[in-house]
Symmetry: C2
C-alpha cells in the first residue's frame, strides 16, 4: 500500500517547512472540498467503475498476435498516461528486444515530419494497428496524423477497420462520423473526464491492454486510492494530505514542485504529472472571476541520474522548491556489485552491497542533504512498480490536484489558457 | 549560421521584457568578463583545438563493424552530451531498426538494478564495447557499473582490452591504474574542463565517432561559435547577448528558463542544458564569499508536444519564466498532410499544408500567445539539425553560462553543493 512520509518537513526551519500542527490545520476542510469537487460535476474518480473493461479485455484477446505494432496518435492527455504505463510496466528495452507475444507500441506525440517518415522504417503497415485518440476529433496534430497514416493504409489496400481504431466522443465529432462510415471500432472518452485525467478511461486502458498490461490490477489500485480520496479522515486521505502540504508550502514560496522517482521504470511518471499539475492549477482567474495568476510549476527529475544534473541548484540555489521523492522498496531485480578492487581504500564503502542498496542509500543521502540545506522534501513509498501501485500513484496525484484546485478556489478541470494559441494557429494558416 | 531573435522582449511590458536600450546596456562589460573567464583558468573554449581528434577518428575506423553495441557507463556530464548527440543526429528509432553499419549505443546513466539486467537482453557481450567515463575513476555509480560489466566480460573470457575503453584523467586514478595494468585504451578528460562542459572532449567525441557522427563538423560548429564568444562586439557575441538578457530578466523575476525546441530530434538538448545551467549558476556563495543563493531554474520542454502539457501554466500562471525557443528551418523531411475531409469546414485550415508548416505555425502562434499574455520569449534559429549546428548550440550555451557566472559574480565552474550528499552516501554505507 502506498504511504507518504512527511517527517522531513518538520526538520527544516518553519519558514521552509511545516510543523505537524500546520500540516493538520486544513484537515477540517476535507468534507467541504469533497462536496465542491462533486459539485463541479467531474467524473475522474467515478469512471474507474465504468463498464468498458470487459470489452477492452475482449478486444485485447481478439487482437492477440494479430499485430506486431500499435501506433498511438495522440498528444498531451491522450499520450502521457500511456507512455508512463509502457515505461513502467514493460521491459526497459521492450521495442529493441526480439518480438514477444504482445505488440510493441510507439506513441507519436509530436508532429515533426521526421517522426512520420522514420516510424515507417520500424513498422510493417500490414501488421500495425493505429489508435487515434481525440475527444473532439479536431485536435489538429492528431487528425493530421490520422489523415497521413490512413492514406498510407488505404494506398496499401489494407482494410481500415482492421488497422484503425478510435478513442473519441461517444456521440459526435469527425472521428465518430468516419467510424460510422467505415465500420471502425471506437471506444468512448467520457464527457466529464478531461484529457489529463483520462488514463483510467479507454484512452489509457485500450493501448495498455493491447500490449499486455494488467488493466484490472491498475483499476484495482485506482479504486483503492479513490476510496482514500473520498474519506473524511485525513489520516487515510493521502491525496488531501499531499494537496494540503503542496498548498501550504506554496504559500511559503515553494512555487516549484520537483517530482523525483528513484526508479528507472518511473521516469515518465513525472512527465505525466507535469501536465496534470501545470494545466490544472496554472490559472489566471479564480472561481469568483478575479485575476490571481496562480500555479505551481512542476519539474520532472529522476534519481539518481539528476543528482548529477540538478542537485547543485537544488541544494544551493533559491529556496523555492518542494521535492517529492518516490521510493520503491523492491526494484524488480536484486543485483550485487562485484567489488573488483577490494584493497582500494577510497572505494571501500562499495564492498558487499547491491545496486539496490546503493540507489536507496543515495536517495536517503540526497534527502538528508536537502534537509540540512533547509529545503523541504517528502517521500511517497511503494512496494514495487506494478499495475496496482501505478493505479495508486495516478489516483493519488489526480485526487491531490482536485483538492489543490479547491485550496486556490479555481477550476482545476478547464484549460482556457491554451485556446489563444489554437485560435492564432488557425488564423495564421487560413491567411497563408 | 545560428541567429537569435529577441524582438518579442520589446513587445511585452517593461516589467516583463527588455527594451533595446536595456538589452545593449551591459555590452561594455564583454571585455572585462572575457578577462575574468580567462583568469578562472578554465579550458572549455580552448579544448576544441586539442589534438585527440585524429586519434578518435582512427579508433572509429579501426572499430568499424567490430561491435554491434556500444554501452556508455557514465552519469551527468559524462552522459548528457552524448545522449543529445545520439538523439539529434541518428535515426529517431535507431536502436529498433535493422542493424546499420555503425553500432547502436545505450547510455546507462542510472544505477537501477533493472537497468543492469535488462540491458543484457538486447546486447551480445562478445559484440559489445563498454566505455566507462569518469574523471576521478571513483564516481560510485560509474565504477560500480564498470565492476559489474567487467565481471561479465571476464566470466565470458572476453579480452578486457577489446571490450572496455576508458575516458578518464590522463595521469592518475583508479581507471588509469586498471588501464595500465590490463592494456585498456584510454582517452583523457582535460584537467581544466568540468563534466558539464565536456561534450567537446573525448567524453562526447569518442562515443559519437564510434556511432558514425561527424565530429569534425561538430567541432567546426563549436569553433565558429567560440569565435563569436571571444568577440568584444556584442552584435557578434551571441553567447553574451543570451547571458545578458537571461540575467536582466532574472533580475525582473524570471527565475525559470524554459528551453523549448520545436524539433523531435532536439528533445535531449534541453536535458543537457538543464545540467549546464543548474550546476553552473545555482550557487550559495559568490566570489567574495557572501551568501547569495542565486540560480536560474531550467525546465526542459518540447514543441509542439508540451503545448498540450505546459502552455496553460505558461500563459496564465505566475509570470516567472523566460521562454527560449529553438526553431529549425529545415526539419529533415517535408511531409504533406493529405486532407481526407476536404468538405469539413472546421478543418479547412489544414488544407494544402505540410507538417512542417503546421509545426512552425504552431510555434509562431505559441510565441504570439505568450507575448499577448505579457510573457517574455526569445528564439534561437538554426537552418537544420546537423553536427555543425549542434556544435554551435553547445558552445552558445556554454559561453552564455560562463558569462552568466560573471554577471552574478560567482564561480560557474565548480559544484560544491553536490559534495554533502556524496559524503553522506559514503558514511551511510560504511555504517551498514
Amino acid at each position: 500500500m502506498l504511504t507518504i512520509d512527511v517527517k522531513n518537513l518538520t526538520k527544516v526551519t518553519s519558514a521552509n517547512g511545516l510543523s505537524e500542527t500546520e500540516m493538520a490545520s486544513k484537515n477540517k476542510l476535507i468534507h467541504a472540498y469533497l462536496q465542491k469537487i462533486e459539485a463541479r460535476g467531474v467524473g475522474f474518480y467515478k469512471t474507474i467503475d465504468a463498464p468498458w473493461t470487459e470489452e477492452i479485455l475482449a478486444l485485447a484477446k481478439k487482437s492477440d498476435r494479430k499485430y506486431y505494432d500499435v501506433v498511438v496518435l495522440g498528444i498531451g492527455g491522450s499520450s502521457l498516461g500511456m507512455l508512463c504505463l509502457q515505461q513502467s510496466l514493460k521491459h526497459l528495452f521492450e521495442n529493441e528486444k526480439p518480438r514477444s507475444s504482445t505488440p510493441r507500441v510507439h506513441v507519436l506525440d509530436n508532429i515533426d515530419p521526421v517522426l512520420m517518415t522514420e516510424i515507417q522504417d520500424v513498422i510493417s503497415l500490414n501488421k500495425t494497428l493505429f489508435i487515434t485518440i481525440s475527444k473532439s476529433g479536431t485536435t489538429p496534430e492528431t487528425i493530421s496524423q490520422y489523415f497521413y497514416f490512413r492514406s498510407l493504409t488505404d494506398k496499401a489496400e489494407l482494410p481500415a477497420n482492421l488497422h484503425h481504431l478510435f478513442i473519441t466522443d461517444a456521440h459526435k465529432g469527425v472521428l465518430k462520423d468516419i467510424a460510422d462510415r467505415d465500420g471502425i471500432k471506437t471506444f468512448p472518452i467520457p464527457d466529464d473526464v478531461g484529457g489529463r485525467f483520462s488514463v483510467q478511461t479507454p484512452v489509457g486502458l485500450v493501448p495498455a491492454a493491447l500490449i499486455g498490461i494488467d488493466i484490472v490490477e491498475l483499476l484495482k489500485g485506482m479504486r483503492a486510492m479513490r476510496d482514500r480520496f473520498l474519506s473524511d479522515d485525513a489520516s487515510i486521505n493521502v491525496p488531501f494530505q499531499l494537496a494540503s502540504l503542496q498548498y501550504q508550502l506554496e504559500q511559503k514560496g515553494k512555487l516549484i514542485n520537483v517530482l523525483m522517482p528513484y526508479s528507472q521504470k518511473l521516469i515518465r511518471l513525472a512527465d505525466w504529472y507535469r501536465q496534470l499539475l501545470a494545466e490544472s492549477i496554472g490559472k489566471k482567474l479564480n472561481d469568483k472571476g478575479e485575476t490571481v495568476n496562480v500555479g505551481i510549476t512542476p519539474i520532472n527529475a529522476l534519481g539518481v541520474t539528476d543528482q548529477h544534473s540538478q542537485t547543485q541548484l537544488y541544494n544551493e540555489g533559491p529556496n523555492d522548491k518542494l521535492f517529492i521523492f518516490v521510493e520503491v522498496e523492491k526494484l524488480g531485480a536484486e543485483v550485487k556489485i562485484p567489488h573488483l578492487l577490494p584493497d582500494n581504500e577510497a572505494l571501500g564503502y562499495l564492498q558487499n552491497i547491491t545496486f539496490n542498496k546503493l540507489i536507496n542509500t543515495e536517495k536517503k543521502a540526497t534527502e538528508a542533504a536537502y534537509t540540512q540545506n533547509d529545503r523541504p522534501s517528502i517521500t511517497l513509498q511503494i512496494d514495487e512498480v506494478n499495475a496496482y501501485s501505478l493505479g495508486e500513484l495516478f489516483m493519488l496525484f489526480e485526487g491531490a490536484t482536485a483538492f489543490l484546485g479547491e485550496f486556490y478556489g479555481i477550476n482545476a478541470f478547464d484549460q482556457p489558457g491554451v485556446e489563444l494559441s489554437k485560435i492564432l494557429t488557425r488564423e495564421m494558416l487560413l491567411v497563408k
